[in-house]
Amino acid sequence: MEPDEPAVRIDGLRHRFKETVAVDALDLVVRRAEIFGLLGPNGAGKTTTIRVLTTLLPPQAGTVEVFGLDVRRRRMAVRRLIGYVPQALSADPALSGRENVALFARLFDVPRAQRRDRTAEVIDAMGLADAADRPAGTYSGGMVRRLELAQALVSAPRLLVLDEPTIGLDPVARAGVWERIHETRARTGMTVLVTTHYMEEAAANCDRVALMHRGRIRALDTPAALVASLQGEAANLDDVFREYTGDDLDGGGFKDVRVARRAR
């Protein structure tokens, strides 16, 4: 792991599902310690990119590196660097919050001597200490999302990957989730890669964003620079989104809707 390697480097990534090209010659660099937003309509290729990056899908063409480690050849080493929160609310409802987090501490080989303290520490950091011994099935959506952040953070990852982390949450819960992400990033200096549909969230929380459409990056810069590039009055990131994707938002399909509904 070279000290000056970016957190993520993607060169010429292509991925297709039968006839559908999901990711098309994607080049992308995510710098260390930044919050990077990957934006785009349903079917843009964001989730496929995330799945390759997190080793769930092998890259069909091109290279993907996490802190200089090739995801194809160094799969296990890459996994040790990543904390991952998928789109659906995925905590086990039959386990308590503490048990949910402790499972991931074990799966990431957090040493036994540190496991209990480490679990309590991340639960506390996510504001769940009072609910830690209740079944996760009794949590609100926002609490489940914070619990999932605790699961992802218990191994002290260098890269936190969040796939639509606030989808289906009410505004208060969304703000709570982002607050915890910022706190953790400030404390640990970790890199955060997030996909989201919410432009105002990306504008407010990401250091840089990339707009993805039909498997390619259409624009990449800071939110302010992208808005400024439109030169329109009262332009915002929504306008930038429309500028680069047009009104062609019919990608994705029933599966995307189903996943989004499941997260609610």
């Binding site: 997190t54 040790r80 086990d92 039959a94 999932e148 953790t184």
Partner: protein, 264 residues
């Protein structure tokens, strides 16, 4: 939030630690919700109380000096473990839909370790179920051999049998990918597996074609070993254990190879 991550552990320790972690989760779930143990006990209870007692009176099944209820009890023990494990495929599809499986597969856990962990977790549940059936059968007057070594052997047989059927179920889940299809397939194979085994009647009374099926059915070797260990009938324990270990190992390899289909 600094934490020293453990050095990569060797494969055997990795397998053991992941299996332990997933079995622990299963026990935690069982401790919190015992209703499943009770409801799953109803069917074996009906087999023992109604079918067992009636056929004991009828004396139509040639079981030699062994009362039919004693002959039947190990078969029902194997059946209840089969019922628990054969529906694990549905559970894994639920985990896929909820994002749990993707999250597990992004941990530094090889697929074989994940599948082995799931297989032994199914065994934990099956053992709990078996305990209920053994107590019930004992209350109905079945005289079991309580030699601790034999009981340990019984536990090993149930663990291996459950691991095989759990992996068979995960493999089928990886092929059909949908919960309702998996439910139908589970129902479709469970009774043929049960009736094409020696659980209800001796092999000698089966027609020739059924005897062939019986010889390739791991459930038959499971029942034979259980019967030998619990009520002292003739058993080829070396062959029985050999078949169960071999089929469980093959099933783990096949299920591990197919697991990735569930997260694509």
């Amino acid at each position: 939030m600094s934490v020293s991550l453990a050095a990569p552990v060797e494969p055997v320790r990795l397998l053991a630690s992941r299996t332990f972690a997933l079995c622990l989760v299963e026990l935690q779930k069982l401790r919190r919700d015992r209703t499943e143990v009770v409801t799953r006990a109803i069917q074996p209870a009906l087999w023992l109380i109604i079918f067992g007692q009636t056929f004991t009176r009828l004396r139509v099944v040639p079981t030699g000096d062994v009362p039919y209820l004693d002959f039947l009890a190990p078969g029902i023990l194997a059946q209840s473990a089969l019922f628990v494990s054969i529906f694990y495929g549905i559970h894994i599809i639920w985990e896929r839909d909820a994002g749990v499986l993707a999250k597990l597969m992004v941990t530094p856990t090889p697929r074989a370790a994940l599948v082995t962990g799931k297989a032994f977790a199914a065994s934990v549940r099956a053992l709990t179920q078996a305990l209920v059936v053994v107590v019930l059968a004992a209350l109905l007057g079945v005289s079991f051999d309580l030699n601790p070594l034999h009981l340990l052997g019984v536990a090993a047989v149930l663990v291996l049998g459950s691991a095989f059927f759990c992996c068979l179920s995960i493999t089928l889940a990886g092929l059909v990918l949908k919960r309702d299809r998996m439910m139908g397939i589970g129902q479709a194979i469970i009774m043929p597996l049960f009736f094409a085994s020696n659980a209800l009647y001796p092999v000698t009374v089966m027609p020739g074609w059924l005897q062939v099926l019986n010889h390739v059915n791991p459930l038959s070797y499971e029942v034979e070993a259980l019967r030998g260990l619990l009520i002292g009938t003739h058993a080829r324990l070396l062959l029985d254990y050999g078949v169960l270990v071999g089929s469980a190992a093959v099933a783990i390899v096949v299920a591990s190879a197919i697991l990735g289909r569930l997260t694509r």
